[in-house]
């Protein structure tokens, strides 16, 4: 499996050349591996998403604007991979999820992530995409208060794994949070109410989130955790199955229902409005019932790596 995935990535010449010519010191090796993770995430759609998009492409009627859009999407996926350049010019909020063994130095790793992000920006794998919210200044490095976004998790394994999501602004802007009950939608504090608000978010997004889209949803939690857990659902592979029976059922029902809306690729009208919906839940206080929806565009940039003891990439996760 690992071999097969690796063979599918033909554009790794920068890394292999450098690795062959000189042995890097440990820090430089970590930066190099993180840079490679950023490059692949920005330029190659993960296999599970690519497969789903290509299936959706065949389902649109020929000679429609919807099929025209899906064809351009396919050409763009091919070209970005071939040229090793960003799929989308909005290389998004850069969000790292780091899974590490006990006794790991988070702050040192954070510094290396920042160095890799700076390098990736210089090389054009990331756009100069981070703006100071008070002064409007763009430092051109993608570093700043809260940027990049880095989340650490301790796990029981010996190795370090790093997952990365690049989330563009267009789809982030149509992401939403509802507080149930919602009287305008007639959405109560139950799963039926949840279903209603999720479909409402997709209806309201129309073509503005660069659909066909993929959703991460969290039922419950406080406002902050709810939004975060919804986003974390985007780490799930599209073809996995939710362990929670009711949520598994609702995930497929929401995709089916949203595809009846006829919003279609780019909002041009058409059959595929959503390619996936992934749901989770978190406990809430009795007074609150939030439902958070993280909308991801078709340019679903998500990748992950396992690092070996020298922090070389030993495995690609998607």
């Amino acid at each position: 499996m690992t071999k097969k995935v690796a063979a599918k990535r033909p554009v790794k010449k920068v890394l292999t050349k450098k690795a062959a010519s000189k042995k890097l010191d440990p820090k430089a090796q970590t930066i190099e591996s993180l840079l490679e993770l950023i490059r692949i995430t920005s330029t190659v759609i993960p296999d599970d998403v690519a497969k789903t998009l290509m299936k959706a492409r065949t389902q649109e009627e020929q000679n429609t604007t919807a099929s025209y859009a899906m064809n351009i999407i396919k050409d763009n996926m091919d070209l970005a991979k071939f040229k090793s350049q960003p799929l989308c010019q909005d290389t998004g909020t850069v969000i790292f999820f780091v899974y590490h063994p006990p006794g790991f130095f988070q702050s040192a790793f954070k510094d290396l992530i920042k160095k890799a992000v700076t390098k990736a920006t210089q090389k054009g794998f990331l756009r100069q995409n981070s703006v100071h919210s008070i002064t409007g200044e763009n430092a051109g490095t993608n570093l700043g208060e809260g940027h990049p976004s880095i989340h650490f998790y301790e796990h029981s394994k010996k190795e370090v794994s790093v997952k990365l999501v690049l989330k563009g602004g267009g789809c982030e802007n149509v992401s939403a949070q509802y507080s149930l009950p919602d009287t305008t939608l007639g959405a109560g504090r139950d799963l039926e109410g949840v279903r209603k608000v999720v479909i409402d978010a997709v209806y309201k997004a129309q073509g503005k989130g660069c659909g066909p889209g993929a959703l991460g949803v969290c039922i419950g939690g406080d406002r902050a955790d709810s939004a975060y857990y919804a986003k974390k659902q985007l780490l799930r592979k599209l073809d996995d199955k939710n362990e929670h029976k009711d949520l598994a059922k609702m995930e497929s029902e929401i995709v089916e229902t949203c595809n009846k809306l006829g919003i279609g690729p780019m909002g041009f009208g058409g059959k595929t409005t959503l390619i996936s919906c992934k749901m989770t839940h978190a406990n809430r206080v009795p007074a609150s019932f939030f439902v958070s929806i993280s909308y991801m565009c078709w340019a679903f940039r998500r990748q992950g790596v396992v690092l070996d003891k020298n922090h070389k990439i030993s495995k690609w996760l998607y």
Binding site: Y68, D75, G170, Q206
Partner: protein
């Protein structure tokens, strides 16, 4: 497939209808949030936008260290609706005849398109590589102080693919899709 070639004019864009797939050849000027706000505040445009097309885009650009020449390496559209408060004014005061973006725009822009002879051309969001390939040269950079994604880039493009989703006759595909999806939405609630 229709073609729209430079020099552009209100007459030429009035020929286009919602749903037309169009290939544009000629000049484009990028302009997004900062530029629209700047023009709205009454500042003079550093370039003459009369009969030009504005492209809602913040490209990824690279400068050759030796020659100082710029190349655009990724250039898809950004969401247009953020410019809705300003776009009608820019159409009226600067005489632009085309707006390229994604996601569509609202009634004010649609009305201005009809009144002044302008169209909204939808590029495929996220298709930054396919669209950057169509850029044949980078001819100018203005308002660099806004940051590279927010600056005005003067570009020459060839066969740049778009779909007309708002025409100069008051028609909007976005309005149509929103209305039809609303009807279906009501039945599934």
């Amino acid at each position: 497939m229709k073609r729209l070639s430079y020099p552009f004019s209100p007459e030429a864009v009035r020929e286009l209808k919602v749903g037309d797939m169009v290939l544009i050849t000629g000049k484009l000027f990028t302009g997004r949030d900062a530029v629209h706000k700047y023009l709205h505040e009454g500042n003079k445009s550093p370039v003459n936008l009369k009969n030009q097309i504005i492209y809602h885009c913040g490209p990824v650009t690279m400068k050759d260290k030796k020659t100082g020449k710029w190349t655009v390496t990724a250039a898809g559209p950004t969401t247009s609706i953020r410019e809705e408060p300003y776009q009608w004014e820019v159409i009226r005061d600067h005489g632009i005849v085309g707006v390229i973006g994604k996601g569509g725009m609202g009634q004010k822009t649609l009305d201005a398109c009809k009144e002044h002879g302008c169209v909204y051309l939808h590029a495929v969001g996220g298709a930054a590589q396919v669209l950057a390939e169509k850029i044949k040269s980078v001819d100018g950079l203005f308002l660099e102080e806004f940051g590279l994604p927010e600056a005005i880039w003067e570009l020459t493009v060839e066969d740049f693919p778009v779909v007309v989703t708002m025409d100069a006759h008051g028609n909007s595909l976005h309005k149509e899709v929103e209305n039809s999806s609303r009807e279906i939405f009501k039945t599934v609630l």
